[in-house]
Symmetry: C2
Subunit: 162 residues, 2 copies
DNA sequence: TTCATTGCAAATTATTTGCATTTGA
DNA sequence: TCAAATGCAAATAATTTGCAATGAA
């Protein structure tokens, strides 16, 4: 099951919510940046290019709404802000849920895909009765480059996309 | 390899750092609350009982130091604050690294132990060259009780220990 | 003595909220 | 028309930081 832009509009209307330019633009920006980890500020700056009057509060309210609609996932890379990415429910492209490898030295964030966790989810459901709907998995360590040059200019820990 | 209280003092001295009452008390509080997820505020309140003059900033600086010393792990349960627990390196008790099941309905946090991730860590190291030193895994969903009484008084989402 | 540490208060910063105004249905 | 949505500014709240005073070695 996949959600298209038209579906999205219908979903809003069905709930008595309104289709606004702001909502469409936020969705578009997120869809155009699949697999990037976007902060509210990042989204804000991009939407501003098309719609200079938008307010940051609207971005926050919109991603909250999208999260409830299961249109975006929130990720936390422990750098002091929350990040958002469009969910695999939107627009079909079957994207496996991925994990993040976070380099403690240079701050780089590397995505890693695999399905081993499905097995674990089933184990949890059997053993605890807890119904899993989502998960977040982060690995901390050192990336290949930083391992090579151990004398790597001791990084800032700032978020870096890969 | 396990770190004792004496080891801890030695580690500090070796680095030219000082053994203070505040540091000893924070360590003690954390050790006495294994498997609880303690906020800085929680630690602060408990240390205050023995040492009423301690400042909150000292708690923050101390857990930062302990993290660098690998004495505590930091966990993020997405409730707006960071939590700390003593690491399995301290005082021997072999505690498996555990994961957290977070109930979206009532906010309960259930620990879950297993070792499946070791396998995954080895896979990552082989495929990406990334050296994993730690991980954090959270599952979101609904706990058994909330599933039963779906009409569960729609929870606050506040952190609840189990 | 001397430099690391502390407590306090002020600063920082991501996110949320109140409210008057605007806008989609 | 009218409730939902927005932009703005102010509020919130966890964490960090500057600095003078304190304390461990």
């Amino acid at each position: 099951m996949s959600i298209s832009k038209e579906n999205f509009k219908k979903m809003l209307r069905e709930k008595g919510l309104k289709v606004t330019n702001q909502r469409l633009l936020v969705l578009e920006v997120l869809a155009d940046h699949r697999d990037k980890h976007m902060t509210a500020e990042d989204i804000y700056d991009l939407v501003k290019e098309d719609y200079p009057d938008i307010g940051l509060a609207t971005i926050y309210r919109t991603v909250q709404l999208f999260r409830k609609m299961q249109l975006v996932d929130r990720i936390n890379l422990d750098d002091g802000c929350l990040r958002y990415e469009i969910s695999d429910l939107f627009d079909g492209e079957t994207k496996h849920h991925h994990h993040h490898l976070i380099c403690k030295t240079c701050g780089k964030v590397i995505p890693f895909e695999e399905d081993l966790l499905d097995e674990l989810e089933r184990l949890i459901e059997k053993e605890t009765g807890f119904l899993v709907s989502d998960h977040e998995l982060k690995f901390y360590g050192q990336c290949e480059e930083c391992l090579k040059k151990q004398h790597c200019i001791s990084g800032t820990g700032t978020h870096v996309e890969v």
